[in-house]
């Protein structure tokens, strides 16, 4: 049964991939990539990687589609005809694919317990998490505690991406409020958006603080948080959402999240531990781990939410025409 589901999902993934290559309308391509992400998320659920599935669904199917649509709105929604023959790219793709398939021949069987990946540090993580970290979700304990240096690097990458978009696009505040023309028809959309806006934020907080016990964590929570504000901006216009969460505040938030993460590390050094060694943060080492994980996950969520919103604001504020949907 599971094989059948896998085959159907992988087949649909392949079809979506072909459709993306063949479609010329970029709007349709954005939608198809969203479908592609949703299919991969389903595949991750089948593989029991629910944390990754949640991330893929929130970021791949949700945010990146919105950002792509915003980018398409700035440029053109038709793919330009290529100026060169497709033979060289075709050769490169086939050669790379063949090399990858050749590479899989040496790989251990799927789910093989004797595979190197399962014998290196993974058994230690799995055995020690309940006693040393004391949380049920091993993914969170690996991400936020054992490998917290890597996660700090990831957050810094996200922060850098936000800074890069800011340097390239910036934010252009509108001089006049010209957005409310032709929006009388949006009443239903606005009522529903108002209804769901607080629920989305609540769900983001749930994903953040429940990340120790179930799937979720800072990255997913940040993206869901940003989604709430993007929904608000879509229904009520950019100037209204600016009043809700101004872009200056976002700059502070993006930096503050990384700063919280780093300060947790420095605090643990000041208390006599190593950088990001959470045990020293409380009297009891397990409680210290809890406190540390919660703090850094909050930092991650703040940075991710702020950066996603900075990118969205950057794209949308450059739209020349009023009526930005």
């Amino acid at each position: 049964m599971e094989h059948l589901i896998n085959i159907v999902l992988l087949g649909l993934l392949m079809l979506a991939g072909f459709a993306i290559v063949r479609t010329k309308s970029l709007l349709a391509v954005a939608m198809l990539t969203s479908i592609y992400s949703l299919l991969s998320a389903s595949l991750f659920v089948v593989l029991d990687a629910v944390d990754v599935a949640l991330t893929e669904a929130a970021i791949g199917a949700g945010i990146s589609t919105i950002l792509m649509l915003a980018a398409i709105a700035l440029t053109s929604d038709e793919e330009k005809a290529p100026r060169h023959t497709p033979l060289l790219p075709l050769f490169v793709v086939i050669a790379t694919g063949a090399a990858l398939i050749y590479g899989t021949l040496d790989m251990p069987r799927f789910g093989d317990p004797a595979a190197p990946a399962h014998r290196h540090v993974a058994p230690t993580y799995l055995q020690d998490t309940p006693t040393a970290i004391g949380i049920p979700n091993v993914v969170t304990s690996v991400l936020a505690s054992y490998r917290s240096y890597d996660t700090l690097g990831e957050v810094t990458v996200i922060f850098t991406a936000g800074t890069g978009v800011l340097a390239l696009l910036g934010f252009r505040p509108r001089r006049r409020n010209t957005e409310d023309t032709g929006r009388k028809k949006l009443v239903i959309l606005r009522v529903v958006a108002k209804l769901f806006f607080p629920l989305i934020l609540l769900f983001a907080l749930y994903v953040l603080f429940h990340g120790d016990y179930g799937p979720g964590g800072g990255f997913q929570a940040g993206v869901i948080f940003a989604t709430g504000f993007i929904l608000y901006a879509l229904a009520f216009g950019l100037s209204n959402s600016q009043q809700l969460i101004p872009h200056q505040l976002l700059y502070v938030m993006a930096a503050a999240g990384v700063l919280i993460y780093g300060l947790v590390g420095i605090a643990s050094m000041l208390l006599g531990g190593k950088f990001l060694e959470y045990q020293v943060l409380a009297n009891d080492p397990v409680t210290g781990q809890h406190v540390g994980i919660l703090l850094i996950e909050t930092g991650v969520a703040i940075t991710v939410a702020a950066v996603v919103l900075i990118i969205y604001y950057g794209f949308v504020s450059r739209r020349p025409a009023p009526g930005d949907i």
């Binding site: 028809k185 239903i188 959309l189 529903v192």
Partner: protein
């Protein structure tokens, strides 16, 4: 006995929901223009998802799973029709003409 009755109820709900979704998908493929396709997908999609969620809720029984499914149900019955409404408004805004059979030919 009660368990069997609940099982049958749940399966009937799941199957009818699946039929609704299938009919909606056929409608999207077969109907002539944007608005009728939207019509096909909106009603049947909401009904189909709702029925499938109800079927799963019966399977879940009185547990946390059912509460989560109930939240999803609440989410679906609001967002589905709203999204379709927004699509239709956007289509009108973008001057998508409904399909009309030419008269007098």
């Amino acid at each position: 006995m009660i368990g069997l009755a609940f099982d049958i109820l749940s399966w009937v709900s799941l199957l009818i929901g699946a039929i609704f979704l299938l009919v909606g998908a056929i409608g999207v493929l077969r109907f002539p223009d944007f608005y009728s396709r939207l019509h096909a997908v909106s009603v049947s999609d909401t009904m189909g998802t709702a029925l499938i969620l109800v079927g799963l809720m019966i399977q879940g029984g009185l547990s946390m799973v059912t509460v989560k499914l109930l939240l999803m149900f609440y989410f679906m019955i609001f967002t589905g029709p709203t999204a379709v409404h927004a699509l239709a408004e956007a289509a009108i805004e973008g001057n998508v003409k409904p399909f009309a059979r030419k008269t007098g030919q």
